[in-house]
């Protein structure tokens, strides 16, 4: 095909453009005055399917991607996906290494078996089913989540990058072929008829087996549409220029016929994923309901303090369900108080953001985490609403507070309280200390005013902190 070279150049420039868009958005999100939502997660078909954001702003771009995928094929992975671009970029280094990798040969034969019925479909089925319940498996598998984790230089992201390098050492797009559920979803759509790549002529030279997606099957004289990412890399490789991109013919002129058994296998593996996901959710729901009570009441008990708006507007279970664990809020918080929850707080809370007030409090006039959250797990409020939403409740420990315990005036907590009416108030008492009469000002917290922003905790001079914000349990 004569214009494949042009298409390849367009493909590479699109990859650069979309990767640049990703970088631009990411760098902007580091500045609290320029924070932008990540469009790759916001307008994502898989996130949409699993969370059903029924807003028209979403529907239009997502429907556009859907229609384009059906018409053009699995273009997203080769043209848009920033993680795919990273994998392609890494290949400049990994390609020479792969040649000396002794294991690559063995893995290749294994991979070639997986190409037809990739386990990604199994994972796709499992992801779609489990997403309606907490916790979604999606967070561990979504490529656009992982790329944010990599770029935020979180240890989890770097571990994943290491795994990605290992996978790419065997074969360039091993992740995309076998694991990525988003790619599987687009691949599933690409099995429908539309404009697809096909092999017209073939001299059986086998050069097209260098295809990074292992989609070109020259022995069967066919291209696996669910794997082909339209990279148009075959130009210059195929000596007879036998590839053709155009409307798929329904006639089965390929040799041998696409077997029915394979179709059944493909369907079976997807159904198996759905079944496994459903089973997992049932077990998970049973387990957690026996531990913490019924989940659907929205009264999941945890002592973690969530970013602003979660405890006031949303519920803990809804938050755990919607949160993609992309670490965008962790990276964007100007005070760096949002931390990643580790183990020890249950499977639901693993890698979710939680807030610690030891260095800084949550700024009264800042709502960056709400602005950058791509899936509205941290609900988007107006600044006025955010300033009235409780994150928790401050409590003064009289045994630690210097006014109560040491008869020393302090009142830092009252001074720094950002609530206009002052949620920390004080009363005055005259007391005789060392034979001298002093006026002591004792602080106390007004619970209906306190929003739990934690500024008082961050600045409390006592050690350990005498005023500590606790999660306010509403249920």
């Amino acid at each position: 095909m004569h214009n494949a070279r042009v298409l390849k150049i367009i493909r590479i420039s699109m990859q650069i453009a979309f990767f640049g868009l990703f970088l631009w958005v990411f760098l902007r999100s580091l500045n609290p005055f320029m924070s932008t939502e990540n469009p790759f997660l916001k307008y994502d078909l898989l996130v949409f399917l699993t969370h059903l954001n029924l807003r028209w702003q979403y529907l239009l771009p997502i429907a556009g991607i859907l229609v384009l995928t059906v018409i053009l094929g699995r273009f997203f992975c080769g043209w848009v996906c920033p993680l795919g671009s990273v994998i392609d970029l890494m290949d400049f280094i990994l390609k020479p290494l792969r040649k000396i990798n002794p294991w690559a040969k063995y893995l290749l034969s294994f991979e070639l078996k997986l190409v037809h019925t990739p386990p990604a479909w199994f994972l796709l089925g499992a992801v779609v089913v489990t997403a309606f319940f907490t916790p979604p498996l999606l967070q561990y598998l979504h490529p656009n989540v992982w790329i944010i984790r990599i770029f935020s230089l979180s240890s989890l992201g770097l571990v994943f990058l290491g795994l990605l390098v290992l996978m790419s050492l065997h074969s360039r797009r091993f992740w995309c072929i076998t694991i990525c559920p988003l790619g599987a979803l687009y691949g599933l759509l690409a099995t429908l008829p539309g404009l697809r790549l096909s092999i017209n002529e073939c001299s059986a030279c086998g050069r097209c087996s260098s295809c990074p997606m292992k989609a070109a099957q020259y022995r069967e004289r066919k291209v696996l549409h669910h794997q082909c990412t339209l990279c148009f890399d075959f130009e210059g490789r195929c000596p007879v220029k036998g590839f053709r991109y155009g409307q798929t013919k329904q006639t089965t002129d390929t040799i041998p016929n696409p077997s029915r058994r394979r179709f059944l296998q493909q369907g079976g593996i997807l159904a198996g994923g759905i079944a496994a996901g459903a089973l997992f959710t049932v077990i998970d729901t049973r387990l957690t309901s026996s531990l913490v009570g019924h989940r659907s009441e929205g009264s999941v008990q945890t002592r973690l303090i969530r970013p602003p708006g979660v405890t006031g507007v949303s519920t803990e279970s809804k938050f755990a369900e919607r949160c993609l664990r992309c670490f965008q809020c962790v990276r964007s918080c100007p005070n760096e108080i949002i931390k990643i929850t580790g183990t020890g707080f249950g499977f639901d809370s693993l890698f979710t953001p939680n807030v610690e007030f030891d260095q800084y409090g949550c700024d009264y006039n800042c709502q960056v985490c709400q602005l950058v959250c791509p899936n509205y797990a941290i609900p988007l409020q107006t600044l006025q609403e955010k300033q009235h939403t409780k994150m928790g409740l401050a409590r003064i420990h009289n045994g630690l507070c210097v006014v109560y315990a040491n008869d020393t005036n302090c009142l830092v907590c009252e001074e720094v309280c950002p609530v206009p009416e002052k949620a920390v108030k004080y009363y005055e008492r005259t007391k005789v200390v060392d034979g001298e009469e002093v006026v002591l000002r004792y602080p106390y917290v007004e619970p209906h005013l306190c929003i739990g922003c934690g500024i008082c905790q961050a600045l409390c001079p006592a050690f350990p902190k005498a005023i500590v914000v606790h999660r306010a349990h509403t249920a």
């Binding site: 609290p32 005055f33 100007p334 005070n335 800084y360 409090g361 700024d363 009264y364 006039n365 800042c366 210097v402 020393t408 005036n409 302090c410 009142l411 830092v412 009252e414 001074e415 720094v416 309280c417 950002p418 609530v419 206009p420 009416e421 002052k422 004080y426 000002r441 500024i455 600045l459 409390c460 001079p461």
Partner: protein, 297 residues
């Protein structure tokens, strides 16, 4: 010179000194405190500094100047938790007019520095006038060397920002606010922003600490933004109805006198405010007996 001329000259000199005694205000070229009322804050600031001798009295050509506004809390400028950006810009302008070589503008905010500097409008105002705005994120020993304060009662050792120690002139640019534990936060209290210490602990002996830091570091010129004073629930504020519009700018070479005048605007007796009284006791400045001049423009 004949006898007649000699007598004329002697009499004239005598009259001049007598007139200085009788009408001290009319003949002075510089007062201790200048108070200017007016809605044009830029003009008011220039006028107030002129009343206390003009900027050239304080900033000599080639000086390195530190302008220390109050950028303590992240709040929009209309809530007056921070110094008016117009006042900051005007003072920086004046410093450059007096041929200052460098002007630094910074504070150590209680809230996030980046958010606070930008939201208060001071970063943009200071930079537009040509000053260098410094973010203070860390309180390392390198940026905050330790100093000893001779004659201090409580705060004998502290750390002070390197840029202030190395500067020639420190211009203190506070905003007049209500403050729960210090009663008022004006010029003397504003110097708490120059230290790298854990300031929360200073609250245990707040009045001693504030007067001691002023003993250690002198504000050469204090310009108080009392245009819209916060009378309640300070120092964070947070509501426009806590403010009282006075449209006043106070300038003084003496931080204690300036604070005493500002305390009068709040209807408080400065001698009863701990750190102002201690400031007089420790010889930082004059609580009373200074000569002030009020001007309305």
């Amino acid at each position: 010179m004949n006898r007649r001329e000699f007598l004329k000259a002697t009499l004239a000199t005598g009259f001049y000194f007598a007139a200085c005694r009788i009408f001290p205000d009319a003949l002075r070229d510089a007062y201790d405190v200048g108070i200017v009322k007016g809605t044009n804050y830029e003009k008011s600031t220039v006028e107030a500094i002129d009343l206390v001798g003009g900027i050239r009295k304080y900033v000599k050509p080639g000086d390195i100047v530190v302008v220390k506004p109050n950028i303590g809390f992240n709040a929009p400028p209309e809530l007056k938790a921070t110094t008016d950006p117009v006042v900051v810009r005007t003072v920086v302008h004046l410093c450059f007019q007096a041929l200052a070589s460098k002007v630094y503008v910074f504070d150590r905010p209680v809230n996030n520095p980046k958010l606070t500097y930008v939201n208060s409008g001071i970063e943009e105002a200071a930079q537009s006038a040509g000053a260098k705005v410094l973010y203070v994120n860390d309180v390392s020993k390198k940026l905050y060397p330790g100093i000893r304060i001779g004659g201090a009662h409580w705060l004998k050792e502290t750390t002070v920002n390197r840029y202030i120690l190395e500067s020639d002139v420190l211009i203190n640019l506070p905003v007049a606010k209500n403050h729960s534990s210090a009663e008022l936060t004006v010029g003397m209290k504003n110097l708490m922003g120059i230290t790298g210490d854990q300031r929360s602990k200073w609250h245990w002996e707040l009045h001693e600490a504030i007067s001691d830091i002023n003993l250690g570091v002198k504000s050469h010129l204090t310009v108080i933004d009392a245009t819209n004073i916060m009378v309640k629930n300070g120092p964070t504020g947070g509501r426009p109805d806590y403010l009282k519009r006075l449209d006043t700018i106070i300038a003084s070479h003496d931080v204690v006198s300036a604070d005493a005048v500002a305390a009068g605007l709040f209807g408080k007796d400065p001698a009863r405010i701990g750190y102002i009284a201690l400031g007089q006791q420790k010889g930082i400045g004059k609580l009373e007996g200074f000569i002030s001049k009020s001007v309305q423009i």
